[in-house]
C-alpha cells in the first residue's frame, strides 16, 4: 500500500527530519518514558514466562537493589554502579575524539591479570599494603600497553581502531586463560582466593573502598573532561581534525596522550576488580562490563552526569532482574541479559525520537491516495 501511495504522490507520505529547537524537557520526558517502558517490558516478559509473577517481579527487583536492612546488597549495587560509571566515563575522552575504543573489556582484563599475578606471587610475608601498591603498578602498566598500542597504530597508520581493540579483547582473554593454566598446575584450573593484596574491609565489605576510590577518580575525570586544556583539545579533535591542526593541536600527540590516560585508569579498575571485589581471578572476571560501558558512554552523550544516571539504571537493571529471576525460578543470567538488551534498545530508540521527528507530507493528498 505504501508503494501505491508513493506512486501517486511521488514520495512516501512521511519523512524524517532533524528536530529544530531542542526542548530539554521534552527530551527527558521521552527518555523517562523509555526507561519506564524498559522496566515494564522486563516485568511483562517475566509474566509471560511465569504467569502471575508480575507483582512478585517488581517487589523482588526492589528488594534486590534497595533493601536497606541488608547493607551488603546496597554495597553490591553501588560497586556495580561505580565500576560501570568509571568504565564509561573513562571511555568518554577517547570516544569524544572519535577513537572508537571497544576494547575496554580487554584493557581491564589485562589489568586484572597483572594485579592477580602480583598478588599471587609476591612473598607471603610482605605487608598487604606494599603488595597492593605493586599490584596497582603492574595492572596500570599492562592496561596501558593494551590501550596504547591501537592508539599508536591509529595515530601513525590510521589502522582501524574498532577492529583492532576488538581483537585485543580476545587476545587478553586467551592470555589470561593461558596464565591461569600455567599458574595452577593442579588441574582444577581455578585461581582460588587471594591470600595477600586484598582491600581492607569497611562496613564489613571490601567493596566499600572500591566505591570510594571510584568516586574520587570519577571526580578527577569529570574535571579532566569538562574543564581544562586536555578536555578541550580532545573535543576539538573530535569535531574536526583540520580545525585542531589549524589551532595548533597535534592530533597524534592528543590521541596517544588520551589513550595513555585511559589505559592508566583501566589499570586501576582492573586492580580494584581483582583486589577489591572478587579477590580472585578468571578470564571472565570483567563479565561484559567493558562492553556495557561502551553503550553507556555513548547513550550518555559523553556527559559525565548523564553517564552516572545510566550507569545507575543499568546497575539496577542487572542486579534487580537477576534477583527477581532467581526468585521466580527462571534462568537468571540470561534473563538479565535479555532485559539489559531490551533496556538499551529502547534507550537507543529514544535517541532517535529526541533528535529527529517524523513529518507528514500534504495530509489531504495522502488521504486521497489512500482512498484509491
Amino acid at each position: 500500500m505504501l508503494e501505491k501511495i508513493k506512486n501517486k504522490l511521488g514520495h512516501f507520505p512521511f519523512y524524517v527530519t532533524k528536530r529544530m529547537g531542542f526542548s530539554k524537557l521534552k527530551y527527558w520526558l521521552i527518555r523517562a518514558g523509555g526507561i519506564l517502558l524498559a522496566f515494564l517490558l522486563a516485568g511483562i516478559t517475566c509474566t509471560l514466562l511465569k504467569p502471575g509473577s508480575f507483582g512478585l517481579f517488581f517487589s523482588e527487583m526492589i528488594r534486590g537493589c534497595f533493601d536497606f536492612s541488608d547493607i551488603s546488597s546496597i554495597i553490591d549495587l553501588l560497586v556495580t554502579f561505580s565500576i560501570l560509571l568509571l568504565i564509561s566515563t573513562n571511555l568518554t575522552p577517547t570516544f569524544k575524539m572519535r577513537f572508537w575504543n571497544i576494547g575496554a573489556e580487554g584493557q581491564i582484563l589485562m589489568g586484572c591479570m597483572g594485579a592477580a599475578a602480583m598478588a599471587k606471587f609476591m612473598p607471603r610475608d610482605m605487608s598487604n599494603a606494599s603488595v597492593l601498591i605493586i599490584c596497582l603498578l603492574t595492572s596500570m602498566i599492562l592496561s596501558t600497553i593494551w590501550s596504547l598500542v591501537p592508539a599508536i597504530f591509529k595515530a601513525f597508520f590510521n589502522t582501524n581502531e574498532t577492529l583492532f581493540t576488538l581483537m585485543l579483547n580476545y587476545i587478553a582473554s586467551i592470555l589470561s586463560a593461558l596464565a591461569i593454566s600455567q599458574w595452577i598446575k593442579s588441574g582444577s584450573q581455578s585461581f582460588g582466593v587471594l591470600f595477600n593484596g586484598v582491600f581492607p574491609s569497611i562496613l564489613d565489605n571490601t567493596g566499600t573502598l572500591v566505591v570510594i576510590i571510584s568516586l574520587v577518580i570519577f571526580a578527577g575525570l569529570f574535571v579532566y573532561i569538562t574543564k581544562g586544556k586536555y578536555g578541550y583539545e580532545v573535543s576539538v579533535l573530535g569535531e574536526s581534525i583540520d580545525t585542531a591542526r589549524y589551532i595548533g593541536i597535534n592530533p597524534k600527540k592528543v590521541m596517544i596522550r588520551t589513550s595513555l590516560i585511559s589505559g592508566v585508569v583501566f589499570g586501576v579498575i582492573g586492580f580494584m576488580i581483582v583486589c577489591g571485589i572478587h579477590q580472585s581471578f578468571s578470564p571472565t572476571i570483567v563479565g561484559g562490563q567493558g562492553f556495557t560501558g561502551v553503550l553507556i558512554a555513548w547513550l550518555g552523550h559523553f556527559n559525565p552526569m548523564e553517564i552516572a544516571l545510566f550507569s545507575f539504571l543499568s546497575a539496577v537493571m542487572q542486579q534487580g532482574t537477576t534477583t527477581a529471576a532467581s526468585a521466580v525460578n527462571i534462568s537468571s543470567t540470561q534473563f538479565s541479559a535479555i532485559c539489559t538488551g531490551v533496556f538499551f534498545f529502547i534507550i537507543i530508540a529514544c535517541e532517535f525520537f529526541s533528535r529527529y521527528q517524523i513529518k507528514m507530507h500534504h495530509k489531504e493528498k495522502v488521504k486521497e491516495a489512500k482512498e484509491i
Binding site: M167, I330, F344
Partner: protein
C-alpha cells in the same frame, strides 16, 4: 593417515560455521555496516534452527523414520528467518533511526545471546541427537571415494550450501551492477545517493541478507555439531567474533573467506584434537587459539600501512542521513 583425514574432515565442518558468519558479515560491511551483532545474530539463527527442527520432530509420529530432506530444510528456513529478523532489527536501528552502529551491534549481541541461550536451555531435546546424526552426511556413500570422499564428500548439505553462498556473494559483489552499487554505498554513501542509488534500501537488504546467512551458521553448529546436547556454554558467540576476524583477515573478499575459514577452523579444533599428544605442554593449545586473533591484527596493521587497495569500506560504521550532507 586416518588421523589426518578425520582432522581435515572435522576442520571443514567447523569452517562451515565460520564461512556462513564471515560471508554474512562481508555483505554487511560492504554496505558500510559494521555489524557487531554477528554473535547475537548467529545465536538467534541457532535458536531458529533448533525451533525448526523441533517443529519437524513434533510433527512426525514417535519412532517414525526421519525424512532426510525435511530435517535439513525446516531448520534452514527457520534459521534464515531468525537471522533475517536479527539483521532487520540492526538495520532498523542504524538506517531508519540513525543510531551508532557499534552501540546497536553490541546491544544486539547482548540481547541475542541472552534470548537464544534462555530458550535453547528450555528446549525439549528428544530425538535431536538422532536428527543431528541423520543430517551429518549429504552423500551417504562418501566412503566409496577413499580418503578424498572422507574429506570432501562426507559433509552435510550445509557445508556445500556455505561454499555456494560464498561464491555467489563474491560474483555478485564483483561482477554485477547490484554489487557495484552496494560497494558504492559502503565507500561513499552520499556519492551513491547522488548517483541515484537508494542508499537505505541497499543497506536494509544487505543487512537482512547478511543476517540470514549468518544465522544459518549458528543453526548448523547447534544441530550438526552439538546434536541437541545444548547447554549454556555452547559458545556460538565465539564463532561470531571469529567470523568478524575472518572478514578482516580475508580483506572483505568472500572467496578468500573460504580459505580463511578453513584455516581458522584448523587452528580452533587443533588444541582439542591434538590434546592427547601435547602432554605437559598445555600452553601450546593456548598459543594455537591465539594465532587467529594475532594473525588478524597483523593483517589489519599491514593492510593499513602498505596496501591502500584492500582497505575496509571507507564509510564503514558511518550512518547516512541525507540532510547531513
Amino acid at each position: 593417515m586416518n588421523y589426518v583425514v578425520s582432522f581435515l574432515s572435522l576442520a571443514i565442518k567447523f569452517a562451515t560455521v565460520f564461512l556462513f558468519g564471515a560471508t554474512g558479515e562481508i555483505i554487511n560491511q560492504k554496505s558500510g555496516h559494521l555489524n557487531m551483532g554477528t554473535p547475537g545474530i548467529m545465536y538467534l539463527g541457532a535458536l531458529g534452527g533448533i525451533i525448526g527442527e523441533r517443529i519437524y520432530l513434533d510433527s512426525i509420529p514417535a519412532g517414525a523414520p526421519l525424512n532426510p530432506f525435511m530435517i535439513v530444510f525446516l531448520p534452514l528456513i527457520f534459521s534464515i528467518l531468525f537471522g533475517a529478523i536479527g539483521g532487520a532489527v540492526f538495520s532498523f536501528f542504524t538506517v531508519t533511526l540513525h543510531c551508532n552502529q557499534n552501540v546497536t551491534g553490541l546491544t544486539l549481541t547482548t540481547f541475542g545471546v541472552g534470548l537464544a541461550c534462555f530458550f535453547i536451555g528450555t528446549m525439549d531435546t528428544s530425538r535431536m541427537p538422532e536428527a543431528g546424526l541423520a543430517m551429518q552426511h549429504a552423500f551417504p556413500n562418501y566412503a566409496a571415494a577413499g580418503w578424498f570422499g572422507e574429506i570432501f564428500f562426507s559433509q552435510s548439505w550445509f557445508t556445500y550450501l556455505g561454499v555456494v553462498v560464498a561464491i555467489v556473494a563474491a560474483i555478485i559483489l564483483k561482477y554485477t551492477r547490484v554489487g557495484l552499487n552496494l560497494r558504492a554505498v559502503g565507500e561513499n554513501a552520499s556519492a551513491a545517493d547522488s548517483a541515484g542509488i537508494n542508499v537505505n534500501r541497499y543497506r536494509y537488504i544487505s543487512t537482512i541478507i547478511g543476517g540470514a546467512i549468518t544465522g544459518i551458521g549458528g543453526a548448523f553448529y547447534e544441530l550438526d555439531n552439538v546434536k541437541g546436547m545444548f547447554n549454556v556454554a555452547d559458545g556460538v558467540d565465539a564463532f561470531g567474533w571469529l567470523a568478524l576476524c575472518i572478514v578482516i583477515f580475508s580483506m572483505w573478499k568472500p572467496l578468500i573467506a573460504i580459505g580463511a575459514s578453513f584455516l581458522f577452523a584448523c587452528l580452533s579444533i587443533a588444541p582439542t584434537f591434538f590434546a592427547p599428544y601435547l602432554g605437559g605442554a598445555g600452553y601450546v593449545s593456548y598459543i594455537l587459539k591465539l594465532t587467529p586473533y594475532l594473525a588478524t591484527v597483523i593483517i589489519l596493521i599491514i593492510v593499513s600501512i602498505y596496501d591502500k587497495k584492500n582497505q575496509p569500506p571507507a564509510n564503514l560504521g558511518v550512518s547516512y542521513f541525507r540532510e547531513d550532507r
